[in-house]
Symmetry: C2
Subunit: 131 residues, 2 copies
């Protein structure tokens, strides 16, 4: 099984990472994901890493790449379910995942995405919205 499935949930895409990402698999995931964002017009990407207990700089970089690519395609990325040890490792590696939002679980991640999408829609409809 050499493919990470990307599930469509309404306006969002959900990716669950359960296996170690090696070069080719990570590249395939990036390519599949940007294509899915384009095809489905998704406004948000949720990456569930609750099964990831060990993270390295490679995986941190892949998550950052996905977030940047999605952002360029106008979709926000939220990482959900991070284990405490993973957060510690990321900070110690000097990889604070800039530009990536985090949530405790998928439900909260979806709420966060909904808030962000509503906010940005509000701003584009009416520039004086925040005043």
């Amino acid at each position: 099984m050499e493919k990470i499935p990307i599930l469509r949930m309404g306006k969002f895409l959900l990716v669950t990472i359960q296996v170690d990402l090696y070069d080719r698999l990570a590249e395939a995931l990036e390519a599949d994901l940007v294509q899915m964002v384009k095809k489905t017009g998704a406004q948000g990407v949720l990456i569930d890493i609750s099964a990831v207990s060990i993270i390295d700089s490679f995986m941190g970089r892949i998550i950052g790449n996905i977030a940047t690519m999605s952002k360029i395609l106008d979709a926000e990325t939220v990482v959900v379910g991070m284990q405490p040890a993973v957060a510690i490792t990321l900070v110690e590696l000097g990889l604070p995942l800039k530009g990536v939002h985090s949530s405790l679980n998928v439900e909260r991640g979806m709420e966060l995405l909904r808030t962000k999408i509503n906010l940005s829609e509000g701003q584009s409809d009416d520039d004086g919205y925040a005043e």
Copy 2:
């Protein structure tokens, strides 16, 4: 990463199978899942097997077990994203997954679960609902 994550999405639980299930992993998944159904009061379980390209009788049996256990705990099981080749193999193996519902993708699976839950709630509220 020796654990398959179970994601809570509102009233439903979502399990994405990406790795080969061996005995211990399958047992752990069954145990985790029934505990999650109990803890969250979930009314439906979605099993995404879109990444599964080869299925054997063991995995077929595990899916059947999960469905039966969930049913006893009052939750319906829907298998989503099955690849055509997997459907062929299941029939050829003589494992038509009785008691398990199927849907093309997660979104349709959720719709199916919602319909089923509404129907059963309707029936319990009012016995003459179907007439």
